[in-house]
């Protein structure tokens, strides 16, 4: 980790905490009050806990699972007061995400290491590309971008504007051109210029649209013709505000272009990250990054423990 990042660390977690404050409000009212006093665990305590989990989009299935686990331990007298229950919940939540923590690594041999960004409309793919490009540059990699979103008006300009401002070359064609051909061109250009990484934007698409998912398949197919191992990473970008539809997004995008990881954006709002627990139950995909703000430094590697800690922190702060 570079020095600059260390310096930002405090500010970052503070921001994540304040961003997650609403999530904590939900957990706070349900959990904080009841968990922090040394109180007997009764039906009501467990029910409030369940409510708090549901309010953060954890989803019925994952919530039931977590609650069953906790209730069983209460039954076995492993947890005999609310403080112990609080600790157990934190550990349980962390444990569920721990398997999904994996550092994002670029294979420098690939030249270019091709990363696709896919997702539904408006999740923040283009913005994430900008932030990640900057981050990879900071690691000493030469980066190029492919403006593969040829559908949305001004998506190409958005990426170009960003590229110009940050001195990153953007390979683009006009709006309406074939996305696969843009990305293919970009891969060739990146190879010719010896770029380390190519970040390819794609148009947002709803996963239920068969023809658009087919287009995604085509882009992947065309790129693999150039380099069999490409795309090296296919990242699905999820909006933190998304509900249970995230599960369908993961499933359908994965069926079209096998996903290699997830990025969760917009965690600085009132949106809850609880959907990650539901997703984690369904897939083995690593959660590489989370976005907690507008700044470039606000795209951060995902870490389970501080994440859950931040989620539950307010309860402690408010009641402790």
């Amino acid at each position: 980790m570079s020095e600059g990042e260390v310096k930002n660390e405090g500010g970052f977690w503070k921001r994540l905490r304040s961003g997650l404050s609403k999530t904590r409000d939900a957990l706070g009212t349900g959990v904080g009050n009841l968990l922090l006093g040394e109180k007997e665990i009764d039906e009501e305590v467990l029910e409030d806990l369940e409510t708090a989990l549901l309010l953060t989009d954890v989803g019925v299935e994952a919530t039931t699972d977590i609650m069953d686990d906790l209730a069983a331990r209460v039954q076995r007298r492993e947890l005999n007061n609310t403080r112990a229950l609080h600790g157990a919940l934190g550990r349980l939540l962390t444990q569920r995400l721990q398997a999904h923590v994996k550092p994002f690594q670029v294979d420098r041999q690939a030249k270019p290491f091709v990363i696709f960004f896919v997702g539904v409309n408006g999740v923040g793919k283009t913005t994430t590309i900008g932030k990640l490009a900057k981050r990879l540059q900071g690691e000493g990699l030469s980066v190029m971008l492919a403006a593969g979103d040829t559908f949305r008006a001004a998506a190409v300009e958005q990426l170009q504007a960003w590229g110009e401002r940050n001195g990153v070359p953007v390979i683009a064609q006009s709006q309406g051109s074939d996305s696969a051909s843009v990305v293919y061109d970009a891969v060739q250009a990146a190879a010719a210029r010896g770029a380390d990484v190519l970040l390819a934007d794609t148009a947002g698409r709803l996963q239920a649209k068969t023809n658009l998912m087919e287009e995604l398949r085509k882009i992947s197919r065309v790129v693999s013709r150039f380099d069999e191992s490409a795309p090296h990473e296919v990242l699905l970008v999820l909006d933190a505000g998304v509900g249970q539809n995230a599960l369908s997004q993961v499933k359908e995008f994965d069926a079209a272009v096998p996903l290699t990881g997830l990025v969760v954006t917009k965690l600085d709002g009132t949106a809850k990250a609880g959907v990650l627990f539901a997703v984690a139950q369904q897939t083995d995909l690593p959660i590489y990054f989370i976005g907690v703000g507008e700044g470039v430094e606000d795209l951060r590697p995902f870490e389970a423990e501080p994440f859950v800690e931040a989620l539950l922190a307010q309860a402690t702060e408010e009641n402790g």
Binding site: S18, A26, L54, D57, V60, R152, A153, Q158, L206, D239
Partner: protein
């Protein structure tokens, strides 16, 4: 896929037929099912609680209808209440003011505001013959203004330029002046996406509203939003005087519980739903359809809509005319139908959307796969145009040739011809008056035939 609520409730309430009335005790399990279904559809928890209370009080004391099963009866109560809560009828946009009528858009980042501006402009222009001007006060996101400019061009709206170094208030002031000079009937003001917790940004849009005094302030919400829809809607509603809601990206497979949350919390009507990437995709909101979807009662409506969008209308009309004239449904037409089915994602993806299909026995489900239909297409492709038009000429040696050409066997050819014959019969009934019911009966026979070449009854 989730079991539909209707099926689950039928299970839960199975023992209820004998009993006369719905009581607190005998519906408590059913209420849990309803709660779960609503949560799975992303309805916000506080709204779920309020809603289930309403359903409970409405259900209590009702006499179990002997004709309906209690599960269905219960679903109907839930469904009706949903429709009622979401607003029984569609609310139109109010533009009754001295022109230009100003419409202000608000919402989170990526909700779909800019796209909605263009869709709304096109709708007002084409359906209500309004002259529409649009302006972007999004000075933050790169190329946001350019995006609106491009879309305005497509929609044929008057685009009022703005630049990223202007203040939103200055843009607004200038835009109103220019809209007046251009004699625009409507001015739609796009704004930057903002987080409800961002106080500066919320103050900015509040000031914009105070300055513009829009007759409509529309809150755009993503149909895929989860529990957060409640928080966000409350925050925007507190800061702004909202007049309506637009549910964007409603053409996906999200159950759209956010709509119920937003409607309940703000009390403001949902005026439009956004469907599709193209700018003609803005439709009036129909509560009953969304109610079915929230309850997971199949996705038949969207299947029909998809069919309407994808099926080539000209070709369909041509076929209809042909059948009307008493001509036969030939293999050429059959091939065309196979093509259209493929363009809708094939039979498996269509079956997914039909309610109850997931309840079919596994072996029946497995028999229906896209490979068969692909093979059927290949077989027809291996025929001469003459054979396709007059399938009766296909005899022994022709069959062998077709089998070789398509890499199949003669029994495959026979099966295809038999299926075609059945379809032909169906089409004949269909083209006659009142043939619809008969066709539906024929359809179930045909499904069996498509699945294995024999009716399913014999298989089981």
């Amino acid at each position: 896929m989730f079991d539909s609520l209707s099926e689950r409730l039928t299970q839960t309430l199975k023992g209820l037929t004998g009993k006369a009335r719905l009581t607190e005790e005998n519906i408590s399990a059913a209420m849990r099912d309803v709660r779960r279904a609503l949560l799975e559809a992303d309805v916000a928890l506080p709204v779920v609680k309020e809603f289930t209370d309403k359903v409970r009080s409405r259900a209590l004391g009702q006499v179990v209808n002997a004709a309906l099963n209690p599960g269905e009866q219960f679903v109907k109560i839930v469904h009706d209440e949903l429709v009622h809560v979401m607003g029984d009828a569609n609310d139109a946009l109010n533009l009754q003011t001295t022109p230009p009528a100003i419409v202000l858009m608000a919402g989170l980042q990526g909700a779909g505001k800019t796209t909605t501006v263009a869709k709304l402009a096109l709708l007002l222009k084409s359906r209500e013959k309004k002259k529409v001007a649009v302006v972007s006060a999004d000075v933050y996101r790169p190329a946001a203004i350019k995006q609106l400019e491009t879309l305005a061009g497509e929609a044929g709206a008057h685009f009022i330029p703005s630049s990223a170094d202007e203040k939103p208030s200055a843009i607004a002031e200038r835009a109103v002046g220019e809209a007046k000079r251009a004699f625009a009937d409507v001015l739609i003001v796009d704004t930057a996406g903002r987080l409800a917790v961002d106080e500066d940004m919320m103050a900015e849009i509040r000031a914009l509203q105070a300055q513009l005094k829009p007759i409509e302030t529309l809150f755009v919400v993503d149909a895929m939003t989860g529990q957060d829809a409640a928080n966000t809607a409350r925050a925007f509603n507190d800061v702004l005087d909202l007049t309506g809601v637009v549910l964007a990206k409603a053409d996906g497979d999200a159950r759209g519980g956010a709509a119920l949350s937003v409607r309940s919390i703000t009390g403001k009507p949902i005026k439009f739903i956004g469907v599709g990437e193209k700018i003609d995709g803005l439709e009036p909101f129909y509560p009953d359809r969304l109610a079915s979807r929230i309850l997971g009662m199949g996705d038949l409506m969207s299947l029909i809509e998809e069919a309407q969008r994808k099926v080539d209308k000209k070709k369909a009309e041509k076929l209809a005319r042909k059948l009307e004239k008493g001509r036969k449904f030939d293999l050429e037409d059959f091939r065309e139908q196979l093509n259209q089915m493929a363009s809708m994602g094939g039979i498996t993806s269509m079956m997914d959307k039909v309610p109850g299909m997931s309840q079919l026995p596994k072996n029946v489900q497995e028999q229906v796969n896209d490979d068969q239909f692909l093979r059927m297409g290949v077989i027809i492709d291996s025929m001469t145009p003459h054979e396709r038009r007059f399938p009766d000429v296909i005899t022994g040696s022709r069959k062998q040739r077709i089998a070789r050409g398509s890499g199949t066997s003669v029994p495959d050819i026979n099966r295809l011809l038999k299926q075609h014959k059945q379809m032909q019969k169906m089409m004949k009934k269909f083209s006659k008056k009142g043939g619809m019911q008969k066709m539906m009966r024929g359809l179930s026979a045909m499904q069996g035939a498509a699945a294995g070449g024999r009716p399913p009854a014999r298989r089981r």
